[in-house]
Structures are given as C-alpha cells and as structure tokens.
Amino acid sequence: MISSNLIIGVCTAYVVLLFGVAFLADRRARRGRLDWLQSPLVYTLSISVYCTGWTFYGAVGSAARSGLEFVAIYTGPVIVFIGWWWFLRKLVRIGRLQRITSIADLVSSRYGKSNTLAVLVTVLAVVASTPYIALQLQSLTLSFTVFAPAREGIPPDGAGFWIAAGLALFTILFGTRNVDANERHHGVVTAIALEAVIKLVALVAVGLFVVFGLGGGPGEVFADMPPALTAPEGFGARWLTITFLSGAAVVCLPRMFQVTVVENVDERHLATAAWAFPLYLLLICLFVLPIAVTGLRLLPPGANPDMFVLTLPLMAGQDVLALVALIGGFSSATSMVIVATIALSTMVSNHIIMPIWLRLTLRETKTSGDVRSMLLISRRASIIVLLLLGYLYFRLSGSSTALASIGLIAFAGVAQILPSLVAGVFWRGATRRAALAATACGFAIWVYTLLLPSFEAGLGAPGLLANGPWGIAALRPHALFGLEGVDPLSHALFWSMSVNVAVLVGVSLVTLPSPLERLQAALFVDVFRMQTAAPGAYIRRYATSEDLFTLAQRILGTEPAHRLFTELARDQGLSSGLPRPDDALIERLERELAGAVGAASAHAMVGQIASGETISMGALISIADETAQIVEYSHRLEEKSRELEETAAELRLANMRLQELGAQRDAFLAQVSHELRTPMTSIRSFSDILRENRDLPPEQARRFLGIISDESQRLTRLLDEILDLGFLESRRVAWELEQVDLEDVLDRALSATEALTARSGLRITRSARQRDAQVMAQRDRLAQVFINLISNAVKYAGPDAALTLTIRAERGGITVDVADDGPGVPDSDREQIFEKFARARGLYDSRGAGLGLPISREIMRNFGGDLTLRASRRGAIFRVYLPRPGTEAAQRAAAAPGSGSTAGAATGAMPPRAAAADDSAPGLG
C-alpha cells in the first residue's frame, strides 16, 4: 500500500518539476532562443490538453458502461483536425492577423467589435467551464481517495482545495507574465507539452500492462467482453450527437481555442497537428476499451469504472505503475485547469472587468501603464475566482455524477458559440444582433434542458424533471414540447442548436449590419483574399500622435510602447520622433492593443482619444464587393486575353494582307512601268530618227509617224484601262442596273466589231435568238465585255478562225459561251489570264498590255454575274454568266453593287484579278 505521504511527495515533486520546466522555458524564450519551443511538436502536444482527467479516467468508465461510445468524443476532433483546411486554417489566419486573444474576442471582433457579444460569450464560457474545472478537481481528489481511503490522513475536500490553490499559483506565475495575451506563454505551453507526454506514457503503460500482464493478450481480453458494448445501437443518435459536440468543443472550448489559435505562432504547425493530434488521440484511446473490459472482468462489481486505470494496477500490486497512472491523471487534470483558467481569465478581464473599469475611470487622470497593471491584476484575480468557482461547484454538486456526463454538458454549452463562429467566418451576411440573439437563445435552452437538470438534487425541485415547471408537461426539461424518448443530451442539442441556427439565420436576414460590422465581416470571411490584415485604412479617425502614444503607454507599459512607436515611425520612413497619426497607423495601433485587451476594448479606448470616426464607405464597398469583383475581374481578364489573342491574330492577318498588298503594288507598278515604257520606247526612238534624219524618204517617214501614232494611242488606251480597272475595283460607286435584253446587247457588240472581224476573217456563228433574255446590267458595259471577248478571239484564235456564241437560259441565270477554235489556253493558265498584265509573265501570248479580261470580269461581277474560262479540249470557251432579274444574286448586285466582287477579292490571296487580252477596244488594229 502506498502511503499518502508518498503520494503527496510524488505529486509535489512533479509540481516542482513542472514549475522548473515552465521557468526554464520562459527564460529561454525571453533570451530569444525559441528553436524547439516553437516546434510543431510542442504545438501538437499542447493541443492535447483536450485530453483531460475526464479522458484519463472517464473514458474507461464510459467504455465500461457504454462500450465504444467514448470514441465519439474523439471522432469529432479527428474530423475537425484532418479537415483543418476547411476551418481551423481560417481561424488561425484570422487569429494571427487580427491579434485575437480569445474566442470571445474573435466573435466580438467579427461582429463589429461588439462588447456585449464578448460579454455573452465570456459568461457562457465561464458557466460551461466551471463544472468542467470542477470535474478535474473531482477526478483528482477521486484518484487520491483510491490511494488514500478517507480514514487515512487527508480529507478529500482538503486535497481539492490545495490542488486548486496550487494550480492558481502556477497559472498566475506563468500565465500572466505578459500583458499581451496574444503573445505565446512559452513556459506554460512547454509544461503542458510535457504533461501531454506524461499522460500518454502513463495510459499506454497501464494499457500494455493490463492487456499483456493481466489480460493475457488482446484476444483473451476481448474474449469475454459483454456483447452490449459493441451493439449497433451504440451508433445511433447519441453517437452522432457526441461526435458533433466534441467536434464543436475542440474549436469552441476556451482552452482549445487558446492553444490552437491564440498560441499558434506558425500556420504550418497546424499542418503537422492535423495528423499528429489525431494520432495522439488514437494512441490515448487504443487501450481504453481493453482496460474497461478487463476491469469489468477482474474487479468486484461495485468498483467505480472511472477509476479502473488506478485500481487495476493496484489490484495487481503494481504500485509503481499505479503511481505513474496517478501522475498521468494528475497531468491531464492540471494541464486542463491551467490552460482553461488562462483563457477564461483573459476573457473575463478583457471583456468584463476592463470595460467596467474604463467606464469608471473615464474622466480620471491617466497614468502610464495604469491599464497594464489593471489588466494584470484583473487577470490574476480572475484566475483565483475561476478556480474558486470550480472548487465551490465541486463541493456543492458532490461527486455523484459520472465524469463523462459533466464533460458533455460543458461541451453542449460551448457548442452554442459554434453557429455564430462558423457563420462569422464563412458568411458575410451574419449580423451582430443575430449572433447575440442566437447565442443567447442557445445558451438559455442549454441551461434549461441540460445544466439545470444536472443540479436537480441540489435545487430542491424534484418534480421539475418529471412534471415540468408548474406542472406544465410541455416544458419538461428533458422532453421539451413533448419530444420524448430521446436521451437528454441529444434532446438538448437538438433544441438548442435548432433554435440557435434558426435565430442566427432568421435575424441576420432581417437586420442591417453597421458599417464596422460589414468591414469586419469582409476582413474575416475573405481573410485569404486580403493580402494583409489592413490593406489600407478603412476607418477614418483623427488623433494626435501624443495621445496615441499615451494610450499605448497606459496599456502596454512605457518600454513596450516606446519600442512599438519607434517601429511604427521607422515603417513610415521617419528616423526620429513620433509617427504620423494617419488612418493606417491608428488602425495598426488598435490591432496591437487588441492583442492585449481584445478588439472591443481596444476599439473603445482608441475611440476615446480619436475623433470623427467614419468608415471609409468607398473602401468598405470595395472590400465588401471584393469577392464579386475578383470573380468578375478574372472573368474579364479571361475575356480580355481572348480578345487580345483575337486582335493579335487579326493584326497578323492584316499585316500579311498589307505585305501582300505591298508586294502586289510593287509588282503592279513594275508591270505598269513596263507597259508604259514599251510604247514610249518606240515613240522616242522613231521621233528621234525622224528629227535627226530630215532626209528620210517621205514614205518611210510616214510609216514611222504611223508607228508613233499607234503607240501613242496604245499608251492612251493603256492609261484608260488602268483607270477603268481601278474604278471597277474600287467599287465606290453604286451601279445603276437596268433590265436589258441580252440579244440586243450581242447585236450591238457584233456590229461594233464588224470591221475587225471582217478584216481577220473570223467567222461568227450565233445560236438561235432567245425570246426571253432579260438580264439586269448596264447596256454599254455589258457590250464592252462582249467586244473584249470578240477582239480577243480575233487576236488569239488565228486567221480564219470560227467563233460560236451560244446563249443558254439556265435556272436563275443566263449564260453566254464565247467559243473559238484557236489554240486555246493551257489549263494551268486558266485563272491567270484574268490577272493584270498576265502577258508580261509569259502567259497567253499577246502583244498589248491588255487589261481587257480583268476589266471584263470586274464588270460581270459588278452585275452579280461572272466571267470564266471553261475547260475545253480545243479552242477557248469564255462563259459569261448573268443572274436573271429578281433572283437573289441580281438583287444583291443591285442593292450593293460592290458585293459581286467581294467574292472575287475574297477568293483570295491572289493578286487582284486582271488579265491579258490586249487591244481590247474595238476598231484598233
């Protein structure tokens, strides 16, 4: 048997060890040697403050009573942590940027720095945590009584008191060293991490001993497990409820928020905790069920399952192991109490005591550091009061209730913060009034359905649960509005959460947030989109640098305030003196102060010395609409880039067109030059001959003059043709089309070329006259086309050739084939002959510069028709096509005479069409 002196000795030694570790870590941190103090491992271990005395002792008790139900208390945290990317990451980022000091601070800051909300959350947290702290004291004293039955030495209550006192001292010493609650408590955190290791080692050691020492291996242990412990009924509504509650609690419990968000120094640590913390929980839970099953089997039926962890080793005579287990339980309970009181005292002092004190001292003289000392005093006092409350609750409630149920009541209490918290960081529309109303309603229902019934015995109202207040059955706390047959926890959760969420959503939809709320909502919800916490100042305020400095001094103390202002001035590029009190500075200062006193108090205090507070509506609108803007902006960006690509493609095309046109123009000019120089050469040469040789025989002189005259006419004709083609190609003029009879036009063309054809001996055959050969055209221009074609035949078909003119009416149009029996045109040249100056390229042997064919084709296209050279075995067959009046093509040509030729231009990248038919004008030799 272990003596109580030994127990006291061991515990005291352990406490001394904790003090030592915390002291050394703090000293190390203050010397700036943070290295492993800031490692993700320490961070993860400190999060395991989730596992309290309740876990250490209560989980086994729960497993002995309800089987795997205890696992649900860990599935929630596991899901939340492996889902860190959803929620925790955002909380941590917000916490860092906004210098959040507690969960109450976060909620109040989000909802327009409302202190009322902060007070509500604080009260809720204190009310929910007090039983929880009592629970730890209970588990501690319970564990002592296992070793030291009441007849021996220390009375259990006395133990509870001294434990509470010791914890208060430790917390005050290491938890209120800095005024800045946002700064990390290295000493405490390191001590907590050590305790985390100890409790894990202790539980695993007991588990190994139980399974392999007492139980005879896992198979043996589970062999005679009561089947009820694994029944499917264990995974119903209660399983769901507890998972939800534990998931909510791991975020909302003040101490969890403290270690996860406030004490976080590096977001990447969260990535490690995301898997390491679930792993830690897995290891803690691994042996819970075997211990419970073995305890049920080996220990007498009346034994308290909550104490199996201790009683099993004791029963087996393993005193050392039992002591290790005791230290493990001690660690679990003390770490929870320490962190919880730090978190709660920060909340109480920042959100309740500070505002009251500020109001009281509003008009008094302000001395340097007064707020700071006030803060420290109020925090220390809060710690003492909180522990006292816990102790009182423990004394009053007695130790009848199972550990697990007290813990779950606390969970359900803090879960009332969750809706406002989640909505706060994901939904801009959630408003302050809604959060206040929702949290208050949820809180009230929780108190009524869960907290009050837990006091039933002490309240002296035994009929309340059974009959409801004043005998109203509908108001029975465990069967509200007749909802019966549900276990009290699920029942309470259902009502409180439903009402909470409904009120939050409903009120948000009908209330209008203030500008400050909207600003904060934007900063919180879009925290990942904002590059910095304050991308410019949103709040316009005026204050003097001196006032701001005085304020900083009051809160932070002279030395830190001086450091802060030097840094601020340096950031503004000033080498000495106070920084400029611009909006950005005031905002930043407020944020720094918020790290000490919370957002609401900092805002109020800055508000006392700054005047003319307005929220820059422009800035507000700009960030309020930022999401929409980002979406729209990226959309526009995409569109723009697409447009740019299109434009670039168009430009490339246009550039190529230009180059092409340039090349075409050069070629055209070269051709024109050639065609002009050729007749000019003859003219110049012969005129020189005539001038220099006055004695030429008259006959020869006349011949030379004839040549000069011919070549001059050729020159003139060439210029006319170039101008005509330019005119046709420009399509600037709308052509007036009239209905003409094709046969008449042919008559005219034939008579105009009569002399020419007669001279060359060309025989012309004409198809039978069509009676209905009406087309839309211009009589003269159409005649010009046929004249060109006939002269062409005269030139190329050779002497005594035959020419056949065939008119054929087709669907929608009329064609005229002009066929000769000359040498024809090689297939390869069939399109090229319509190009300008084709002759110059050695195509279609001819003598003149002739632009006849290209001109003719342009004319036909202006009529909506076309001129083509048909494939034929012998001779050349030119086909003239004209649409009939009233057809679409004709109308199009009439409406927009240019259109016929767009087709021609579009055919390509070919140079403008024109070709060689030289002396096309009639009557020229």
Binding site: M680, S682, D688, D845
Partner: protein
C-alpha cells in the same frame, strides 16, 4: 566583213527602229520575237552581237543570257540587254550573269548604236 546582230525582242515596232538604226550603221540585222526560238538561232548563227529584251514570251531574257554564256561558241558574244521594267534588281541579275551592257527603255538611239558598234568591234578578232 559585215557584223551580224541578232535582236531578240517581242515588240515589232522596237525591232523595226533598232533594225533601221543598226542597218544604217552597216550591221547585218536579224530579229527573233520568240525566246525559245532565239536560243536555236544564236547557236546556229553565232551573231557578233545580241540585243536582248528581258521580258519575252515563253522564256525570259535572263535564261537566254545564261544559255549564251554557257554555249561554247557564244560564251564571249557581246550582249546588250534592254528592259522596260527598270528595276535595280534586274540590273544586278544581268550583271551577275555577264551582260556587257544593260539599257533601260526608252533608250537614246545614239547610245544603243555606239555601244553596238563598240561591242561588235571588240568581238571582231
């Protein structure tokens, strides 16, 4: 000994003026309008001077010049090229191919006649 000149040119009027001018100088003038046929005649007649138009049907003047310079008997035959295109690039091409004189139309009668006389004399030996 009469010097024989072959005019390869597709414009009859220009041939006529050149023939008249050179004939008066005592040249024995023949002409050819078709590029393809011209090559045969050069090979057959081995003229003392060739006057060659750049733009000819069926065969461009540069091809003929290249053939003249490549021919065993005609490699040293003087060649005067006439062009109506007046592009610097043509002159470069012609000079690269070994033309003796490159004249842009319209030409000065005396310039052609004197050049012809000079070049034909050089070909004499």
């Amino acid at each position: 000994m009469t010097r024989r000149v072959l005019i390869i040119e597709d414009e009859p009027n220009i041939i006529e003026s050149l023939a008249w001018l050179l004939g008066r100088e005592g040249f024995d003038v023949t002409s050819e309008q078709d590029g393809g046929a011209a090559l045969d005649r050069i090979a057959r007649e081995t003229p003392d001077l060739v006057i060659l138009d750049v733009m000819l049907p069926h065969c461009d003047g540069f091809e003929i010049l290249r053939a003249i310079r490549a021919g065993k008997d005609t490699a040293r035959t003087p060649v005067i090229m006439l062009t109506a295109r007046g592009q610097a690039r043509d002159r470069e091409t012609a000079e690269k191919l070994g033309v003796d004189l490159f004249i842009t139309k319209p030409f000065l009668n005396s310039h052609v006649v004197e050049s012809a006389r000079r070049l034909a004399a050089r070909a004499e030996p």
